[in-house]
């Protein structure tokens, strides 16, 4: 899931400067399960903002609504009327949700209420850790299911660096004694599988063009695309031909 955390209330209040009516928009997917921007968090933030701005002597009208997924147009269209009623929209979605709202409602002042952090998983209730960097060229088959791109600070491909520290019998990263050395984990798993020799193979430098270094990425699946039609007024639209007027 995408893991995020809420910005400090002071920062959010500063962002909302000049807006009287505010709509907090939660998202029912990733940020709900990491307790950063679901319906509950949206209601808590809306109540906090109402109270905080009253105490500041500039009471704002803050309401909240949560959509199932902020990153899909269909769910955003359901709250179009609510967006039109307010001076500012405070998104509690990830960065994708914020941009989807801004793109779908060009006239709206859309602001981010969260800092989007990483793709990861909950290790235990209340603790999340990064697991995938979205590099676009997965090598987990070669690294025994442990990603050195997301989990090694140096993104090394051929074994650990010299900074490994042994703390309480475990190999830890030199940047943080709480972080396992990803390469130590890979070696441990290779040994358990009796395939340590596989790690002797030298991996060539990674082609980062598939990662963000290649610029903004896009996936196109022709088999899933709908035919494009031109309407009488010149707009392009996709959809069922028979449904066109």
């Amino acid at each position: 899931m995408i893991v995020a955390e809420q910005k400090p209330l002071e920062e959010i209040k500063a962002m909302l400067n000049g807006a009287h009516k505010v709509l907090v928009v939660g998202c029912g997917t990733c940020v709900t399960v990491c307790f950063a921007g679901g319906a509950r968090e949206a209601a808590i933030l809306a109540a906090s903002l109402r109270m905080a701005t009253r105490l500041d002597g500039d009471p704002k009208e803050v309401s909240d609504v949560t959509v199932q997924r902020q990153c899909e147009w269909e769910y955003l269209d359901a709250i179009r009327d609510r967006i039109g009623e307010v001076d500012a929209v405070l998104s509690l979605g990830c960065g994708v949700g914020v941009q989807a709202l801004a793109e779908r409602f060009p006239e709206a002042r859309v602001l981010p209420g969260l800092n989007t952090l990483f793709m990861g998983l909950p290790l235990e209730p209340g603790v999340w850790a990064e697991r995938c960097a979205g590099c676009g060229d997965c090598i987990l088959d070669e690294t025994f299911g442990i990603c050195p791109i997301a989990r090694c600070a140096k993104q090394l491909l051929n074994g650990p660096c010299g900074g490994v520290q042994i703390v309480d019998g475990r190999a830890r990263c030199e940047l943080s004694q709480e972080t396992d050395c990803a390469w130590a984990l890979i070696v441990e798993r290779a040994m358990r599988a009796g395939q340590l020799e596989k790690l002797l193979q030298i991996r060539a430098p990674k082609n980062w063009a598939t990662a963000r270094d290649g610029g903004q990425r896009k996936v196109v699946r022709e088999d899933l695309r709908l035919p494009v039609h031109r309407t009488d007024d010149g707009r392009e639209t996709t959809g069922d031909v028979s449904a066109l007027p």
Binding site: A39, A42, S48, M51, I79
Partner: protein, 160 residues
């Protein structure tokens, strides 16, 4: 001229298995506790949501007390410990909002502790009396009715 005494309004979220019984026992034993404390019964303080605390304060409560079982004695094993962490989080939110964290407090007691419930209610009432009325009550905001309207506007759109 008679000086008007500030009478705080305090919402007490009480666990059915302990504090609620303790309040009942206090009544049976004819132990008086301040009428400022208004009790809301929860099946367990583990049911407490931070939002409940904020809603109480927003609607005009001067203080909120949460009363659960003694640590280690929760009927549902650890609901009271969950509540304890949530109360700590609510106090952190209060500070961000600009309210005194002391307006929210957690107490633990058993259903046999009627006197201690009365003492906790008195302690909380005196604490809030010292702090003074909630600054949210002073004029420049919304009325309670408007707050209720806002809450009705909390909804989930476009669910599958």
């Amino acid at each position: 001229m008679v000086e008007e005494v500030f009478e705080p309004e305090i919402v007490a979220f009480c666990c059915h298995y302990c504090a609620y019984g303790a309040a009942d026992l206090a009544g049976n034993l004819r132990i008086q506790y301040p009428a400022n404390v208004k009790i809301v019964r929860l099946p367990c303080t583990g049911k407490l949501d931070v939002l409940l605390v904020l809603e109480a304060l927003e609607a005009g409560a001067d203080g909120v007390m949460v009363a659960g079982c003694l640590e280690g004695d929760c009927h549902f094993r650890e609901g009271n410990l969950n509540a304890k962490r949530r109360v700590a989080y609510a106090r952190h939110l209060l500070q961000q909002i600009g309210l005194e964290a002391e307006r929210v407090e957690m107490f633990t007691l058993s259903s046999a502790m009627g006197r201690q419930f009365a003492e906790a209610a008195t302690e909380m009432t005196e604490r809030i009396r010292t702090l003074g009325p909630s600054p949210l009550k002073s004029g420049n905001g919304f009325s309670r009715e408007e707050v209720k309207d806002d809450r009705r506007r909390t909804e989930t759109a476009g669910r599958d």
